[in-house]
Subunit: 210 residues, 2 copies
DNA sequence: GTCTATATAGGGATAGAC
DNA sequence: GTCTATCCCTATATAGAC
C-alpha cells in the first residue's frame, strides 16, 4: 500500500524545498507534483507554514539525537569526526531550513524559538566535547579559546552549505562538499591539538582540498 | 533642494530591505513610505530587481575599496583589525544582501556572479595578508593552515550577522554585535600568533565576551 | 516627473459536491 | 479523502492623463 497522502505531502515538500528553496515552492506546486488537488493538500495541512513546521519537527527529532554528549568516556578525535558527520548529514537532509534560515526564523516565532534552542544546546555540547579533549590531553586550550572555538564551529556548521553555494563551487556535489565542510570545521580545532593529532588532521584535510 | 527621487528610492529601499528583509518589502511598500505613486517608482526603475541591483552595485563599489591589500609594507595585527572593521561596517550598511544571500544570488544571475567574484577576491586578499603576517614573523602557519583559516575568516565574516540574528542574541545592538563578529574572526587567527600577540588579542576579546 | 487607474498573474485558502 | 470551483488578496507592472 502506498504511503498515506499526509506523509507523501511532507516527503515531496521536503524534496522540493531542498531543491528550489522554500520561498520558491507554492502549495500549488506541491499539489501539482503529487498530482493531487490543492483542496486535498489543504485538507491535510492548515497552510504552508504548517507543512514547514512539521518538517522542522522531523528535523529537530533527528538533530537532537545527534547532539547527545558521549557519556562517561573521554572523547577522541574520531568521535568528533563521526559526530560532525552525523550532524552534517541531517542538516543536508533538511538543508532548506538553512538556505533561508533568517527569513524562516524571523517570520515564524515557533521555528525561531526551536532553532535558537537547538543552537544553544549544540554549542554547549561542543564546549563539553572540547573540554573533554583537553582533559584527555589531546588538545590544549584555555576556557576562552574553547568558547570562541565552539562558537566558530557552530557558525561554520550552520552556514557551510550556504557558503559553498554562494562561493560558486559549481554544481552541488554531495557528499564531497559535506566532507569538505567537516574538514573545514575540524581545522578550527586543529591548531590546539598535540603535534601528532594535528598532523593526522592535516593529512585528512589534504585529501579534500581543491 | 531635496534629493532626486531616484536616489530617494534607493535610500529608502535600502533602509526598508535592511529593516524587514528584501523578500518582505514590496514596491508598493517602498512607494508608500516615500509617499509617491507606484507608477512613479516604475518610472525610475524597471522592476524591483533593478533596485536591488543598483543597491548591490553601490555595495560592490564600497567593499572593493576595503579589499585593497596594503601595498609594500608588511601588515600588522592592527591593520587586520581595522580592515575587518571597515569590511564589517560596509556589510552592516548593506546587510539585506547577507540576510537572504542564497535566495538573492540563486534567482539573479548577475548578483550571483558579482558576489562570487567579491568572495574570491576577498579570500585571496585574506591569504595574502596572512602570508604577510607570517613573513613579518607575527604568526606561524603552513600554507594549508593559511588557506583553511582564510576560508573560515570569509565564512565567519559573511554569515556573522545571520548567526547573531538566529542564535537569538536578543535585539539588534549595533555596533556591539559587529565588534563581537570581528573578535570572533580574530579568534580564528589567534592560535597561530606569537605568545605576546595572542595575549593581546585575548585581552581585546575579553572585553566583548558575554 | 508624477499621478490615477487598471491589467495581469499568481498564491493562499475555502466551500461544497462526491 | 479527494475533487472542482472559486474567492480573495497582494504584488508586479503598464497606460495614459496631467
Amino acid at each position: 500500500m502506498a504511503p498515506k497522502t499526509r506523509e507523501r505531502i511532507l516527503d515531496v515538500s521536503l524534496a522540493m524545498f531542498n531543491e528550489r528553496g522554500e520561498p520558491n515552492v507554492t502549495t500549488n506546486h506541491i499539489a501539482d507534483e503529487l498530482e493531487i488537488s490543492p483542496g486535498n493538500l489543504y485538507y491535510h495541512f492548515r497552510n504552508k507554514d504548517d507543512i514547514v513546521e512539521h518538517l522542522f519537527a522531523r528535523y529537530e527529532d533527528r538533530i537532537d539525537k545527534v547532539l547527545v554528549v558521549p557519556d562517561e568516556r573521554l572523547p577522541t578525535l574520531e568521535d568528533i569526526w563521526l559526530q560532525l558527520h552525523a550532524a552534517f548529514d541531517v542538516m543536508w537532509e533538511y538543508r532548506f531550513i538553512y538556505r533561508d534560515l533568517v527569513d524562516l526564523t524571523q517570520r515564524n516565532r515557533k521555528l525561531r524559538m526551536h532553532f535558537t534552542r537547538i543552537l544553544k544546546r549544540a554549542t554547549e555540547s561542543a564546549v563539553q566535547i572540547l573540554q573533554g579533549l583537553v582533559r584527555a590531553e589531546i588538545m590544549r586550550a584555555s576556557r576562552a579559546e574553547i568558547e570562541a572555538t565552539a562558537t566558530n564551529v557552530m557558525l561554520v556548521a550552520t552556514f557551510w552549505l550556504n557558503f559553498n553555494t554562494v562561493r560558486g563551487s559549481g554544481v552541488e556535489k554531495h557528499p564531497e562538499d559535506l566532507t569538505e565542510g567537516i574538514v573545514q570545521a575540524m581545522m578550527l580545532i586543529a591548531p590546539f591539538l598535540r603535534d601528532a593529532e594535528r598532523l593526522h588532521i592535516h593529512t585528512l584535510a589534504q585529501a579534500y582540498r581543491r
